[in-house]
Symmetry: C2
Subunit: 315 residues, 2 copies
């Protein structure tokens, strides 16, 4: 038995699986705001899931964790993370190892997501394909010749930081005009807020009186037919299309898969993305690309993290 | 004995080599404006070089040709080419085969350039690296795990068509804001022309009275200390840096190699590119990148084309 944990900006998701990808249990909880809170939440999830299987945490053979940010996988250290300020040279793997007595392996969350998709999702059908995870930021990954591309230092395909407007919006990474400033869930919320200013004909107006605006809320109101919500979702899909056209021109992939919270909105996103790629990418490279959304956002990235644990513990 | 031909917008370059990369002869000629003219020039080069070696064209085991544009390598057809209008679904390989009696294999010129660099240039030192060819347009290629990345249909890493400004300059590919509209030799000439308007303090003024402005001329005057020429070269290097920062964020490569005519100006280009990548690419991905110019622009791309012929004729 192995555990996989996907620590996102909003939820922590966990699975228990065997080495063949048979999932025995899964669960999730809201992401606490402090690093100690996150550690406790991870342990709590692992205890709950193993108990449900009449087992215990120490019976796990390895734990894999996917987390947003710059990761030193060899050392098990989070160098920096956009979501959690306290994660600065933070030895997350060692800390969870001490609390559980189980070996822990750490990976970038977008890399864990594509490993999950490659292992138990759409990836079985293709040899060369790319994935974008649409969440607080935009992560990415590429499978080349049926293997995860890692680059020289273990990080790659940071598509969220492709420049789409070199004089554009300032990004927290230091660059200007990064794709994730235009097409992430965060960008969708910011854009919608600015569109709502001075308006009162959107169903979102009533909802934001009760709780803060979220990307999920914008998606839900789009489904219900709210025109402003849909317009916002379609505008960020346009920018996403520009980034994906870039990936298509670079990788000439068999498929583009989207994951992350926003991927639920794929039926509104993909028609715009396909139109932009058709208009902007090169003939020959754009012609046979399949566009797919991850099948199970609640499980696949955590399963990918588990796969990192499985493969790393066998080395 | 094998031949390699590199058909560029300005010159056609040819080499004769053995299968181990030992070059016996090389030569070049100006690129004619018609497809028939190009065919005759290719045959002329092959005759001249083989005669110099006391041999003949029909003694060649294979001919590899690199040409700009969308190439169907399997059929030996140029689908479209930016440089030669008449090359539209043009069966160049079959035509040269008929004229020579030797098997001919066709490849995109940027792909041929990176194959040459991988075979006899800087590529021996790295496993994961990228190349940009700076000429009339900007081509590109990636070596991943010591193999040329080809994508699903044989074309990839079209870095010249990465969008750096989604509302920017119109590109002949249909997209707006493509890197090659800002950082190719063509872009350098256009930028310099606009900077020269109304000026009379540049040494380029005297030269353009005698012949049309070229990128080579701008490079030569930069070397001689002309401030305007240098300013233009540095401005396109800034845009090139934005594109290379994107490649660094995607590939996390060990090295970035530049080829093509403009690569001669590497000592003016790279300081700006390095500064832009340092400012704009992500920590961890940009940290250990080497920047190199191709060693022999007159031979390496043609040698890469020869290697395509060598490998394809062995299949």
């Amino acid at each position: 038995m192995y555990a996989g944990i996907d620590i996102g900006g909003t939820f922590i998701k966990a699975v228990i699986t065997n080495s063949e990808g048979k999932m025995f249990a899964n669960g999730k909880t809201r992401t606490p705001e402090t690093s100690d809170g996150i550690n406790d939440a991870v342990i709590g999830l692992l205890k709950g899931l193993t108990e449900r299987l009449d087992s215990r945490v120490s019976a796990l053979r390895a734990i894999g964790i996917g987390a947003a940010g710059a990761i030193d996988g060899k050392k098990g250290v989070i160098i920096t993370s956009p979501n959690i300020q306290a994660w600065h040279n933070y030895p997350l793997a060692r800390i969870i190892e001490k609390k559980t007595g189980v070996r822990v392996f750490l990976e970038n969350d977008a890399t864990a997501a594509i490993i999950g998709e490659w292992w138990i999702g759409h990836g079985k059908k293709f040899r060369n394909w790319v994935m974008l995870t649409l969440g607080t930021g935009i992560g990415g990954g590429a499978i080349i010749d049926n293997r995860v591309y890692k680059g020289q230092s273990g990080s790659s395909v940071e598509v969220g930081h492709l420049t789409i407007d070199y004089r554009g919006k300032k990004c927290r990474c230091g660059n200007t005009g990064c794709l994730e400033q235009y097409a992430s869930a965060t960008a969708l919320v910011d854009l919608t807020k600015s569109m709502l200013r001075g308006k009162n004909n959107s169903s979102l107006m009533a909802r934001i009186k009760e709780e803060p605006l979220t990307a999920r809320m914008i998606y839900e109101e789009t489904v219900k037919g709210d025109a402003l919500a849909r317009k916002a979702l379609e505008e960020i899909s346009f920018y996403l299309g520009i980034g994906i056209a870039g990936l298509v021109n670079i990788f000439n992939p068999e498929a583009v898969v989207i994951g992350g919270g926003l991927s639920k909105a794929h039926r509104f996103i993909f028609p715009i993305v396909k139109k932009v790629v058709e208009e902007r990418a090169l003939p020959g490279l754009k012609d046979n690309v399949k566009y797919l959304a991850t099948k199970n956002e609640d499980k696949t990235p955590a399963m990918g993290a588990a796969k990192v644990g499985i493969d790393s513990s066998e080395l």
